[in-house]
């Protein structure tokens, strides 16, 4: 006797229990604390904050722990939590010129006011497995220098002073928000940047790389990359002035791109822009390259048909939470649709056979 598959509820409960056990792993090994993840896996935490669009290292660390280190799953947890938060207001735009830079480099000038500050970078490490770390990772304190005081001017400012870099018009208009308004094409640049900064690092990296390999090449130099903390200020109507409500760590990248001029613009340098939560260097550079590629229309460049120039293509597929959900949903039962396909294919085959066989009979 056939008994239909039942007991979905029990199966789900059991799966969840097993999942929790697997997450914990071998109980003879000490459990990870949130603080350990936050402090020692900080770049993973940064990625989760950037693509989760929520600056909270502790919550990001918790999400990573809960997701067993699956960062996209962790980003999903943060996103789902974020949407439930009430909005109390909007901060003023942060001033990255006032950033306390841990790292600040330029590929376009050997030196500039504010200096080249390498900071905690992997750049010149030799990628050799450090077996000492397997035993213990205690480190001697790094040498300290005198912190610079005052603001650090943007490299782009020096080019702009020479009038050789395209000017970006300042605007006080409130930018759109794709988490509150459905996306509409063509999108504005602020919306594009929002989509890219929370977009999947791998996807944005791949798109940026494609421009370097000739799919709408835009000759980018890293004009400046800076990482550090900036103050977040909010206007309090009752007070009538802005107060600092906290600080966030950001990575900002401005690329300087060669531009031969077009029908509408004289030859000059143009810019791509990347701004990402935390120390997220690869992401911010990639974002700047894709941003620049997407600006072809406003700069009067040709549409080369390259993927990275295609705004609707890039923005519709950059979000890894949308992508992974839809990709993985094909695991769900589809037997109703499949059944209808099955019957259709059987029917078409029957009809095709009928068409062929009478002829054969006649021969």
């Amino acid at each position: 006797m056939y008994v239909a598959v039942k007991g979905g509820e029990k199966a789900i409960e059991n799966a969840h229990a097993w999942l929790a056990e697997e997450r914990r792993g071998d109980k003879d090994v000490a459990e990870l604390s949130i603080a350990q993840i936050r402090e020692q896996l900080s770049l993973a935490v940064n990625r989760v904050m950037a693509e989760g669009s929520l600056f909270d290292p502790d919550l990001a660390a918790l999400a990573i722990k809960q997701a067993r280190g699956d960062l996209i799953e962790a980003i999903f947890l943060i996103r789902a939590y974020r949407t439930t938060l009430p909005r109390f207001g909007y901060s003023n735009p942060v001033d990255t010129g006032e950033m306390t830079c841990d790292r600040r480099i330029s590929a376009t000038f050997k030196d500039a006011p504010g200096g080249q500050v390498l900071g905690p970078t992997f750049d010149y490490t030799h990628r050799l497995l450090d077996f000492k770390l397997a035993a213990e990772g205690e480190v001697a304190p790094a040498p300290e220098g005198q912190p610079r005081s005052g603001s650090t001017p943007h490299i782009s400012g020096f080019l702009k002073a020479e009038d050789i870099l395209q000017d970006e018009p300042a605007s006080d208009a409130a930018p759109g928000d794709l988490t509150r308004e459905p996306m509409e094409y063509p999108a504005t640049r602020p919306l594009r940047l929002q989509s890219l900064t929370r977009g999947d690092e791998g996807f944005v990296l791949g798109m940026a790389y494609s421009t370097q390999r000739g799919y709408a090449r835009n000759h980018a130099f890293v004009g400046e990359l800076r990482i550090g903390k900036v103050a977040v200020e909010m206007e309090i109507p009752e007070l009538g002035f802005a107060i600092e409500i906290g600080e966030v760590e950001l990575t900002e990248c401005e690329t300087v791109n060669q531009f031969k001029g077009s029908k509408v613009e004289p030859p000059q340098f143009t810019r791509g822009y990347g701004l990402v939560f935390g120390q997220s260097e690869r992401k911010s550079i990639a974002m700047a390259l894709v941003d620049r590629a997407l600006r072809w229309k406003e700069l009067g460049e040709d549409n080369l048909g390259a993927p990275a120039q295609d705004e609707e293509f890039v923005l519709s597929h950059a979000d890894n939470i949308q992508a992974t959900g839809f990709l993985e949903h094909i695991k769900l039962p589809h037997y109703v649709d499949f059944q209808s396909e099955l019957e259709l294919v059987r029917k078409l085959r029957r009809e095709a056979e009928d068409r062929i066989s009478p002829k054969e009979a006649a021969e």
Binding site: M1, G325, H329, P333, L344, E351
Partner: protein, 286 residues
């Protein structure tokens, strides 16, 4: 559950969804953009339907969730539990008892009533998407009522295969104006789209809501010489003997023997309870 609002979503989100539903009802079959929220379940797993249900439910409702016609498929169970927990609504597996039914891929066999609401989970709301991937283009085509491409595609099927090779998510024209994707229901279900109940469609990842009011004309696209056919497996249900229900095909053994059973588990159960028996029903059944 006090940590979350009634039916999980905050009131401002519900208002936004409710406004979209009203506009959807006013322009049947037109896809209203809405700022879909991230839900605590993945995109593609019913987030659109869940948001529409959350904006529609009241504490007095009795809620039913089906996936592939069945109440006990894992994702249906998961969504039902979500609303039990966050909205405290009564739930049921009986179509008859439900006031709001959320569905994935099926329309229940039992005729729905005026006091019921059917909420569909929709993966790709745009019926023209597989002919034209660009939203900017398909939006223009809808605005100009330019559906020639769809007819060309269906006609190419006929010239190539001798039949229209779309078996589910079969496109319909609503109230003589908009071509609409009825979600991936088998085309067997298409004639039921003209019904007494309000039908709401939610596509979370694609950020669209659309609706079909009761008694609205819904016509499956076809040609005079190739009229639309609502097909199903040519068998009765092996458990309840129903001749008129959509069937799942089940592989029974290593030899590949098959049986056919109603995909609508509640329909099958209620028929067996009423004494109907199929070929493989035995005393141990139900």
């Amino acid at each position: 559950m006090s940590a979350y609002n009634f039916a999980y979503l905050d009131e401002q989100t519900k208002r936004m969804i409710r406004r979209a539903i009203l506009k959807g009802l006013a322009v049947p079959g037109y896809q209203v953009p809405f700022a879909s929220r991230e839900m605590p379940m993945p995109y593609g797993w019913g987030t659109g339907g869940v948001q529409v249900s959350a904006a529609t439910l009241t504490p007095d409702d009795t809620f039913k969730v089906i996936d592939q016609g069945a109440d006990d498929t894992t994702n249906a169970v998961s969504i039902r539990k979500f609303f039990e927990k966050t909205a405290g609504v009564a739930t049921t597996e009986e179509t008859e008892m439900a006031t709001v039914i959320q569905t994935r891929h099926r329309i229940p066999e039992a005729k729905l009533r005026e006091d019921q609401i059917l909420v569909y989970q929709v993966p790709i709301p745009e019926p023209l998407r597989f002919l034209e991937p660009r939203e900017t283009e398909t939006r223009k085509m809808h605005s100009l009522e330019e559906y020639g491409l769809m007819h060309v595609k269906l006609y190419e099927d006929i010239s190539q295969h001798g039949a229209i090779s779309t078996a589910y998510a079969y496109p319909v024209k609503v109230s003589g104006r908009y071509v609409m994707d009825p979600s991936p229901i088998p085309k067997f279900d298409n004639p039921k789209l003209e019904m007494e109940a309000i039908q709401l469609f939610g596509a979370g990842r694609e950020q669209r809501i659309y609706a079909v009011p009761p008694h609205t004309r819904v016509v499956s696209l076809d040609f005079e010489d190739y009229p639309f056919e609502a097909t199903k497996a040519n068998h009765p249900c092996d458990l309840c003997g129903a001749e008129d229900s959509y069937l799942d095909e089940v592989i029974m053994d290593d030899a590949g023997n098959r049986m056919f059973v109603c995909s609508d588990t509640d329909y099958c159960r209620s028929r067996r309870k009423a004494g109907h028996q199929g070929r493989m029903a035995t005393e141990g059944a139900a």
